[in-house]
């Protein structure tokens, strides 16, 4: 059994400085740093790279915890309705015109995430069952999706509409230290909460009845999960929009290098998610594309969908 955590840390330590150098303006590490380059590094590249790390870490950890909780390798953090809830909040901030005020967009998005979390706990929290919980999450996701479409179709100006649509695609362009300070505490707290859920997720490997016989409190686990996914995913959506596939893919990369227990998957998935988003965002900056740069959300979906199909087909072959 290889140990994934040191390996991933080493890869991150290598990728982070490299990603700082890459972009429209390439920075030569051997040359003395000019004032323009220093500004680009300190105010653009560094916050952006850190945001990529935070976003990926949150999505990876949330995906690993969700798959453990639902005992299903196809689960994705979007399934609980928290990401759509946060996105709905953000859309409303554009719709009302508040988004131009600095803190409003993330504040609206976090309110949306909190609303989805609250609704989820109220509907499904009574008995702590997984099935009702999943259905409630899917209901909230589709409700938030419908309300988003409504907001877009009724948007007051074409400008607001294009702003919403662009934002929904998810990106890390033109982010600043402010977003880092929003995402960092939320994501780190969320990962800590998800780690605390690890024992319960391990017990769930044996099914709900056996898990309860091992002393698992299903309601406590559910609350930890809602809180952890809410903090990581809500914080991520608030600063970057919707980034798909990371939470779904990353646990699959990591799982073969662990002993299979969900608790052992959470931190390595956070690191692998950070690495994936950091590299993908770096590629987005470097790829020449007429009319701007490839948006991160689109890039990850372009990358993720075929890869995931390949993974599914391989899984199928192994089962047959």
């Amino acid at each position: 059994m290889t140990r994934p955590i040191p390996l991933l840390l080493a890869a991150l330590a290598l990728a982070l400085p490299l990603s700082l150098l890459a972009g429209r303006v390439w920075i030569d590490p051997t040359a003395p740093l000019g004032s323009e380059a220093a500004l680009i590094l300190a105010e653009l590249r560094l916050p952006r790279a850190l945001l990529a790390v935070l976003l990926g870490a949150g999505l990876g950890a949330a995906g690993a915890a969700m798959q453990g909780y639902l005992r299903n390798p196809l689960a994705d953090p979007g399934l609980f309705g928290i990401a759509p809830g946060a996105a709905l909040g953000a859309v409303l901030s554009f719709w009302t015109g508040w988004a131009s005020a600095g803190w409003a967009l993330p504040a609206f998005a976090l309110t949306g995430a909190a609303g989805a979390m609250l609704l989820l706990t109220i509907i499904a929290g009574r008995n702590g069952g997984v099935v009702l919980f999943t259905l409630a999450g899917m209901m909230i996701a589709s409700l938030a999706g419908a309300l988003m479409s409504l907001a877009i179709s009724l948007s007051p100006t074409p400008f607001a509409m294009s702003e919403i649509v662009t934002w929904l695609m998810g990106a890390l362009t033109d982010r600043s230290w402010r977003e880092v300070w929003i995402a960092a505490p939320l994501t780190l707290a969320g990962i800590a909460v998800l780690r605390a859920a690890g024992r319960g997720l391990d017990a769930l490997t044996l099914g709900e009845a056996a898990a309860r016989s091992l002393g698992l409190d299903p309601r406590r686990l559910q609350l930890l999960l809602v809180l952890g996914v809410g903090l990581t995913v809500g914080g991520g959506v608030a600063v970057a929009g919707i980034i798909g596939f990371v939470g779904l893919m990353v646990p699959h990369f990591v799982r073969p290098f662990t002993d299979g227990r969900p608790s052992r998957l959470i931190v390595p998935s956070a690191l692998a998610g950070a690495l994936l988003v950091l590299v993908a965002d770096g590629l987005c900056r470097v790829l020449p594309l007429a009319g701007g740069e490839l948006r991160l959300g689109i890039a990850l979906s372009l990358l993720g969908a075929p890869f995931f199909l390949h993974l599914l087909l391989r899984l199928r072959r192994e089962l047959v």
Binding site: R71, G215, D259, G260
Partner: protein, 243 residues
């Protein structure tokens, strides 16, 4: 002492009282829908009765903390689910979750459980590569690794062939001989007759018979509860049912 006092759960149990003794293999038998699994789940503290109570050493099982209960009572559900493809050793290690005793003691308990079930050669094998019999033993090892005083299993023999049924029963008997209280829901009446110390017969949520197997599963009881006219053939310990 594990006991039930007047357990009532509407439509499933109608006032079941019993006392179970450690060191014995007790089989719960009865027709489909008689409430066997519900009774076992109540005794494991997983289902709360509407009235009455399941008691462990005189204290109600529903009372927290759940981890104290989990350390005393091991429960093997009917559905043998293992969601992730962990190794046999890791699977058995899940039985240590209610204990917070540290890695060394956990490893020793897992080792003892794997040894008792002849699973040491398979310790590193993924669960997905096990045969049905090996898998059943690995799931039992998970319970034994938790060193419970009571072992409650819901149809542990259901999906096994005869040889593996007998092998697993021998392991369960060894647990009882070591002082554990073993309670099994069994469908196969001949296995209950030949291998249990005591049989509880449930019928429509009430206790229809309770005693040594040859009394609790006597031919009149079979006729009354199962509606089957059947005869026991053979010697005690090797009886077979002729319908």
């Amino acid at each position: 002492m594990l006991a039930a006092e007047n357990l009532v759960l509407s439509g499933r149990l109608h006032g079941v009282s019993l006392r179970l003794r450690p060191g014995e293999v007790t089989a719960i038998c009865g027709p489909n829908g008689a409430g066997k699994s519900t009774l076992l789940s109540c005794l494991a503290g997983l289902t709360l009765p509407q009235s009455g109570a399941a008691l462990l050493d005189g204290a109600a099982l529903a009372a927290p903390p759940a981890e104290a209960r989990a350390r005393a009572i091991g429960y093997l559900p009917q559905v043998a689910e293992v969601a992730w493809d962990v190794s046999v050793q890791t699977l058995a290690g899940l039985g240590r979750l209610p204990w917070r005793t540290g890695a060394a003691e956990d490893a020793a308990a897992v080792d003892a459980a794997l040894t008792a079930l002849d699973l040491l050669p398979l310790a590193y094998r993924p669960v997905a590569q096990l045969s049905g019999g090996e898998r059943a033993r690995a799931l039992l090892a998970r319970v034994l690794a938790g060193t419970p005083r009571w072992l409650l299993a819901d149809e542990p023999l259901a999906s096994l062939d005869l040889a593996h049924q007998l092998a697993l029963l021998a392991h369960l008997r060894a647990c009882a001989a070591a002082g554990m209280g073993v309670v099994l829901v069994l469908h196969d009446l001949a296995l209950a007759m030949n291998h249990a110390d005591r049989v509880l017969v449930l019928d429509h949520g009430t206790l229809a018979a309770d005693g040594p197997p040859d009394l609790a599963l006597s031919e009149p009881v079979l006729a009354q509860v199962w509606g089957v006219n059947a005869r026991w053939l053979g010697e005690p310990g090797q009886r077979a049912l002729q319908v």
